[in-house]
């Protein structure tokens, strides 16, 4: 056990010497890893912020229900009962055909034209205020109302919600794609960096093998190197995203002010942070172990 710990301490020491031995190259490598992390993470941050923003907007949807002109008071009562029952309807208002006609005369300036009509052509209508819900729920409500013979048209004001939802789904897809691409990139970057490390330490590896070093002894410093590089590189990536948000902050505040809102971009939460850190480190480790396996065999 103590021997095992000593071997690991030795490997870590060797790793730190690798880093310290070429500070400029190590710094540049970290920056490369950092940028590979920052791009998907930055996109994720934007999408997450957009989603939060969407949650904050006044999302009460409106809908209008028009009855057929021939609807009688019994029909009205039935539709009203339907509306009262539904949980998605928070509030409704009945607009009778006379009231609608009056409103139209006042607002449209078509008073004279309407006065010339022998009968009122407008139907009874309801305006609904709907609870915030998924487009599917709203569709279900619309279909239920349309099923009633007295209901002529149901106009849902949900298009914008659908579009925003679709946009966010698209954004998430983009995050996944970009993350997969840059993850693969990270794997290759690490594999290549480790390959170069192996080449520069070729003599040491060769001599160590000749005097009885096991493969794991030789592998260990490189794997620690990859872990350290993954962790530090991920931190650099977070730093880059934070810097970008800081740069964007004034513009976002200005934009929000135009809408009379207060909004500030926020960094990804601890959960996302942890997952990203873990993913980057594991990818880095995987790249390194593939590279080490491949190149150590070649040195046999």
């Amino acid at each position: 056990m103590r021997q095992w710990l000593r071997l690991h301490r030795l490997a870590i020491g060797s790793t730190l010497r690798l880093f310290a031995g070429s500070p400029v190259a190590s710094g540049l490598n970290l920056l490369v890893v950092g940028i590979a992390v920052a791009l998907p993470l930055g996109l994720y941050t934007l999408v997450a912020n957009l989603q939060t923003l969407a949650g904050q907007l006044p999302t009460e949807a409106q809908a209008s229900v028009f009855l057929t002109p021939s609807a009688n008071p019994a029909d009205l009562a039935r539709v009203e009962a339907l509306l009262k029952q539904d949980d998605n309807v928070t509030h409704y208002r009945h607009i009778g055909k006379e009231e609608a006609l009056k409103e139209m005369e006042q607002s449209s300036g078509m008073g004279e034209l309407l006065a010339g009509l022998s009968s009122n052509p407008l139907p009874d209508a309801y305006t609904l205020t709907l609870r915030e819900g998924s487009p599917a729920l709203l569709d279900a409500l619309g279909n239920k109302l349309k099923a009633d013979p007295a209901v002529d048209v149901v106009q849902m004001d949900t298009e914008w919600a659908r579009r925003l939802a679709a946009l966010i789904v698209l954004g998430r897809e983009a995050v996944t794609t970009v993350a997969a691409l840059f993850g693969a990139g990270l794997l290759l970057i690490t594999a290549n960096l480790i390959r170069m490390q192996i080449l520069t330490r070729r003599d040491e590896i060769e001599v160590s093998k000749l005097i009885g070093a096991t493969d794991s002894f030789i592998r260990r410093p490189f794997l620690y190197f990859a872990i350290l590089q993954g962790l530090l590189g991920a931190l650099v990536g977070f730093g880059l995203v934070a810097a970008a948000l800081y740069r964007l902050a004034p513009s976002v505040a200005q934009l929000a002010a135009l809408y009379g809102e207060h909004y500030a971009l926020s960094l990804p939460d601890g959960h996302a942070f942890g997952i990203a850190l873990l993913a980057v480190t594991l990818l880095s480790l995987l790249g390194a172990s593939l590279s080490v396996r491949r190149h150590l065999r070649a040195l046999d």
Binding site: Q3, R6, L210, I211, G212, T214, F217
Partner: protein, 217 residues
């Protein structure tokens, strides 16, 4: 104990470096390996150290057949062998002392005990005062001594030296031979290869003469 049974070694490309060799070296024996360049001396030593495997036959070192051993077990065989190379194979990115520490670091030896042993080994080869230097500043003869210190620091039971005096003048070469003699006196099995037989003659030990991969007498 080292035992070769009908060993042949053919390298990729068809060159046959050793042809059907059988011999035995007893524990604690000092044996010279003579022959011109290309006679197969280095190949023979590489087979004993498990660096190469024989094409046919068996190579038995300390009771293990290196022709059939698992790849992962080879390092543990080598830990009982000290290797001395004509080109020293010293690492120039670390001090003289750290070069000697390497074999002990590899097995995870206790640092303080390892440092004590490394100093003892350096003392033995007369480099104790120069342990903090970079090996670049050592002369050829001193680098060869450093290589010897590294080969003996983990107290191997077998010492293999491939042309250890090849690049040295006679006075230095005699120094080195005296060192080997002193290791031999404490019971280490030693195989030394050289193309110059004049050094060997003085010691009255067994000489294995190789020519084109076969023994000659």
């Amino acid at each position: 104990m080292i035992q070769f049974n009908q060993v042949s070694k053919r390298y990729p490309g068809g060159f046959e470096a050793l042809k059907n060799l059988s011999f035995q070296i007893d524990t604690g024996e000092l044996v010279f390996l003579a022959g011109h360049s290309g006679a197969g001396k280095s190949t023979l030593l590489r087979l004993i150290a498990g660096i190469d495997r024989p094409s046919t036959g068996s190579v038995i070192v300390n009771g293990q057949n290196l022709a059939a051993i698992r790849r992962g077990a080879v390092p543990f065989v080598r830990r009982h062998i000290g290797l001395i190379f004509q080109d020293h194979k010293i690492l120039f990115d670390r001090t003289v002392f750290d070069n000697v520490m390497l074999p002990l670091d590899i097995v995870g030896y206790d640092r303080r005990e390892a440092a004590r042993r490394a100093r003892a080994a350096l003392d033995k080869v007369g480099l104790l005062g120069r342990e903090k230097l970079n090996p670049v500043s050592l002369s050829g003869g001193e680098q060869q001594r450093l290589c010897i210190a590294r080969a003996v620091v983990h107290r191997p039971s077998i010492l293999l030296a491939d042309e250890p005096t090849g690049n040295l003048d006679r006075a230095y070469a005699l120094d080195i031979m005296e060192l080997f003699k002193s290791f031999h006196q404490v019971g280490v099995t030693i195989v030394i290869s050289a193309h110059d037989e004049t050094l060997m003659a003085d010691y009255g030990r067994r000489i294995l003469r190789l020519s084109k991969g076969q023994f000659t007498q």
